[in-house]
Subunit: 247 residues, 8 copies
């Protein structure tokens, strides 16, 4: 938290009176828009700029937050954004891109250089692709190389076994599945890398909106596996990036 | 229950025969519209006029109930009212106001004087603002001063810690959050005032429509905290008013 | 229902008066012990004698039912029987055997000849063996050849893939698993035979007593698979016998 | 897996070098369309061509997969397909048929000869018919004779008892029911054949989208019964076909 | 509420001053033991003396309540009472009887004359008998004739169909079942009388302590059926008595 | 079952050969429309003609069933029927009436004479009225007198206490409530008659579509109360009629 | 936070170097016992010393924490403490008292003066008394006057209505109930004070360990009511104290 | 998979005939003990020897598996092992150690050198320590340095904020919490490292055995966080080791 520390040091050194310091600090730390407190300290603190959870926000609110981030020179990622809301924003923010399948809007000032190690993203069925893509776009936004293996569910094991080599070379694997959610267990049994399991809401009847896949993944008999929320491709991509970029 | 007591005393004193008294009492106590029994005794009994739960009622039913309350000179608050249903009612009842974000219609004959102590309403994310606003409009309807702190979730603690002073000066705090619902626990750990926790249905996947936030709040490790129903901003605002106005 | 039909024919032919016939029929069809109505018609109707669900019955009740079945010359199988209750019964019924791991008591007058085709019973972990054994003892009670593959969960795929040949030769497969319950999906993807999936209560935390495995199996992406109740090894063994003995 | 084995034998015999073999094998085993890995090995492995789960796939994706299967000369069945998506596909694929009630599209090069033994499909209410029809169309696609008994719920037992003869002649019975899901238990008590129970989402209130019927069927006191997912007519029809065609 | 009305009339007539009246009324209406407020008004109001829910009460508390009821000359029924707690009470209260299977203690000053119409109590399995007996003892305590049909589950329909005549003559039927809970639906389809369905906790795995049977009964496709809590034999017996005794 | 018995007697007396008898019997017992088996025996067996569950049936299916019932001279009640589906049917069936709030269509050849005893139907809130009306229309269809008390929830006890006299005169009470579902407990504590509790889906958040009200009613501390499915006004009205008409 | 502020001021004034200050602060703020970090700052911050959650802690851990608090001169309250664990602690800590029904151990250096306003604690049944007592002991520990009304459930309304006067005079009401949890709704409809609802695990079957009462209270149609966790008498007593002591 | 590859190469080179190779391979890959198939290939495949899930296994089975691993020179870790079962095993296997709080038995031939980077393990309350210790013992077994911060829940934020420096230096953080499970969200908001969230079953009432904490963690508003099963300290320790050892 270098910027913040500098201010604090100045207070300590008597170069800044507390009231003035407080105002500066607050502006550095967050920007209060009334409806939102944009977290400008996050890059320092967590190593990545704030991302915007698009669901449940109005276009006006999104515009305000994007402007606040832009003015601080930060890259922008809006997740879970419907096409309808994305349209006006893409027009207003030059350089922004809407990734339709992933439902993500990104705006980056410079393309990051891609990592040499890579993240492998496997998904069980064609219907799981949107969630896998949310993970992929997120991981690439943060500069990771990604290799996808889509529609490789356990009912036809050869489809995933054919890619054992790729899976074993990945530094971290994201395994996405709905229905019975068995893919992550099978994958974790094949590799030495951490596996991030993403349940999806794909299915019907007793899939209960993805709860079944979620529970199955939490009870995996394989080791080295952890789980994120149902359909949370963003969370998986973000965490995989953290692990892939460990120096 | 002064009015009712007067009637009863009259019966006791022989100034009123039971049959006549009964008719009077029934009219005082409630007004039977067939579909609804408007509770005119509530102001005496509970210290506040009946409020109308707007969901699931037709415009015709709402109009009947509002007329019945108006004729008794009572202030009116209709909660969970869609914009579509509000429109004709606002036109028909001069002086009524529809608060769009809060989904509340109010009609007050005289603005109440505001309390000197205040209620602090904090919410975790921008998407929780509608529920926080439902609490705010309700509290203000009953004459309370309110200070809002919106979008101050626990993933960026400095956003809520920056307001510790305000939180500690409040007589009662309402903490609104969806997703993992952690804000009320953190807030209750910082203050000496009662904290009313309001879970919201904001989230997706394993948030199960707010059930996760609800359960988390009920299991808070902090003391001095109680919980209302998911998205029940009205209930929180009403209860906070009760506590704030304790003399 | 040959015996019953004979009686009915006799009534039709006037050789038996209805009242007498009714008494005979009732005795043939079931034996009313007060607490239990032993179903002696079941062999005719369903192709197998009544089996006794041991759980929740007292030793006295079990003895009465076993005596009633014995007097009609039927073989006896008591499932879900604790060792404590089994002990006195084994002593009183010569020839009866208590299978400890499977928690089953059997009493057979003549050993049935074993089928040429066989049932394969696979289970995911060592802790699932009791349920697998309940299925095996049941299937063998009805005269089926059985080949077990125990502790072959999906986290080490080679343990089940090593047995692909055996799985493919089986006429029907029973796949038993707790935790995430993925084994049946993997097995069903490898074979042409029907797969009966048996979830077990093995696990902890979010396994919720086997509910997770049950849900996973119901949502299998593989075809040709159906599911029985949690820990219902008996049901799986019985159904597998039905299928294996189809002529 | 004859084709695959031939390739492997060639490698062993030195007639094919591993790299070339791998390429051949991959093409034989599945066809990678990017979004989907069409499983061309499934007919060899499971005795039936891959079927397409229509829900959650776009028309473009469905067309790609259908083309891939067509080029390998395989029959096609698309389940859970809305009328809206079916329309363009029926136009583009001559000979394809859309079964509206069952929500299935089929495309068969030659009609299979029907089996001599038959599958009986019973359903409890008129509202369960769509699921029963999904089972029927599936079973007939694989060449099975089917006899339906529709609207024969347990509240009017004579409606199902009137068909006892048909039920007893069937080689396997599919029993479909929503609400309390009692029909499969009653049917399984009447016959010697395996019963496949299919819960449906028919009902309201505490039917919880079919969960009640599902749970009831899993707890059946009758033997010889197993269960598939809620509304999974396809799964029941496929499994019944497997059992009916046992030689 | 004759006694109470007499007191009130006396107040009205000036024969009793309010303070004295209040004291009398309170003693008539309930007896405050500190831990319990024994409801002595219940016989007047509900037509039956208060019954004691034995679970969770200490022997000391039970003794106090029984003494209070005894002193008012009321008959006593304690439900859900363990054998261990019953033992000392049976010794202290001469004439009291402990019904072991039903877990009920009764103490009646005069045996009531039995009704001419009767209640039929059917249960699905031997393990359901304790709940059926709780209903029977309760119904007989209130003077009803009862005819039991035990162990007549739907997997062997002839066992219940054999009793169609008895079922049809009953004025009200209690149908008790665990597991899939199908018996009440079948029974309600056969009779013109009201059917009270009692789910039991008999079963394992996905029976979830009786929740499955409960849900099944609530979703019955038969009419004329209502449901009480899991294992609530007392409630069923009490309600059946109410209906059977309608004049 | 008089008609059926006549046929059977004729067979016994040799006046009818079995094959002819079977055909006659089947026609009497039910009418197989392919999609539906209309139960014409129900009036004999259950004392009331079959009613039609409108949900999930097409207009064509409803028309077929109504015609079948009409041809047998039976009165018709269709429940859970949307206005959209009702419109064409009302036009085609002269004399039929659609009750909009109750979502019921009725067609009666002669109005039944009303009972002298009556059913009291109380509901907790204005939003519960549609379910209460479903119960009322059903009860009146079967010839019962009904007295409604609407919007009398427990938060304003005087609204229900004001009607104690009416409640106590009723032969059976239906108590309808959503949210916390407390009304039936309070009512059952006031009366000697059976209380049928009907949970409704009115509420939001943790009301979980009526599950909360349902559970609360099942756990009532009051005796003489039983429960039907969420929103099942029909079931309550039908059962209340059964009890009210006990001679 | 006076002590802490003094230290900080000393740092600012140069009277204390940061390293020394840090050590002092940490000792003031919490005491790290390895297994526990005793929060000595809590009295300053929350207005009440830390309380000890007894469940899941060993006697050794409890002794360590109690010693740490004692050495700082703070009063001690241990909740959810079994009698077995309490015994040795009561012996070792002179002046400590174990409240058996409430399962609480307290140790107070001086008895607090009792408030003039009071808290009313009502419970629905005798079996709910332990939870009500946990609330009472807690409230009295913090110096509040308490008036209990025990066993006043809604099935006998007169038992609670008889205490309307007491309820209306209370500054805050705690309403404790298991089973259907209706008491808080009824109480909140009678008073102007805040009502804290405490669900208990009293009940069986579909009470699901108190979940039903919890859900019912969250859905109360009455206003001014909030809810704490199942059986959380401590939380209710603590919160009631906060509200009762508002100056 | 070096050993396996050597064998395969030998087959290819004609130095080993297939049948002999198969036997060798099977022995290398797993050891079939009848009840268990010990996975000797796991070290090669997953980078860590098989660990033994102690729950549900008999002492005899555990001894067999430990012997099999020992004979292959592999280190041994048995998780979820009761003290009772551990006792005989510790005696029989010299050098083995039973970690009582963590319920883990370990047997290591040489102590691994500890990593320079470290894993930080934070837990919310003293009652969560056993799960945190399970994670610590596991991580140390695999040679990781660990720094624990125990009893630092969010109700006293200063206890965790005091350790911000340690948290930020860790390469990966494990955050363990029961009740409302808020600690991982707060921690993830403070650090740049991946956070592994472990819900525990600590709590009561609506904690539902840890389900509440689990759901809260899955819905965290913080990024960089993933979740393992309730009480799964082993899984968290294993995964943290994988991440900490990334080169």
């Amino acid at each position: 938290m270098s910027t913040v520390n500098t201010i604090l040091q100045a207070v300590k050194d008597g170069q800044l009176d507390p009231a003035a310091a407080e105002e500066q600090l607050r502006g550095k730390l967050f920007h209060d828009l009334g409806h939102s407190r944009v977290d400008h300290d996050r890059l320092d603190r967590n190593g990545a700029a704030e991302v915007i959870f698009g669901q449940g926000k109005t276009v006006d609110q999104l515009r305000d937050i994007m402007n606040s981030l832009s003015q601080h020179g930060q890259d922008i990622l809006v997740s879970r954004l419907t096409e309808e809301k994305a349209e006006p924003l893409v027009k207003e923010f030059p350089g922004s891109v809407y990734h339709e399948t992933a439902r993500i809007l990104t705006l980056q000032h410079t393309k990051p250089e891609l990592t040499k190690t890579f993240i492998c993203i496997a998904c069980a069925g064609t219907s799981d692709v949107p969630v896998a893509e949310e993970a992929r776009i997120t991981a690439e936004f943060y500069g990771n190389s990604v290799k996808p293996i889509y529609d490789a569910g356990v009912a036809g094991l050869h489809r995933i076994l054919a890619e054992t080599e790729v899976l074993r070379q990945a530094r971290v694997v994201i395994a996405v599945a709905g229905m019975e959610g068995a893919l992550p267990s099978v994958v974790a049994g094949l590799v030495k890398a951490p596996v991030i399991a993403v349940p999806t809401s794909v299915g019907y009847g007793a899939s209960f909106g993805g709860a079944t896949a979620l529970l199955a993944m939490l009870n995996s008999c394989a080791s080295g596996l952890s789980v994120v929320n149902i359909d949370n491709g963003f969370g998986a991509g973000y965490l995989a990036s953290m692990i892939n970029k460990i120096a």
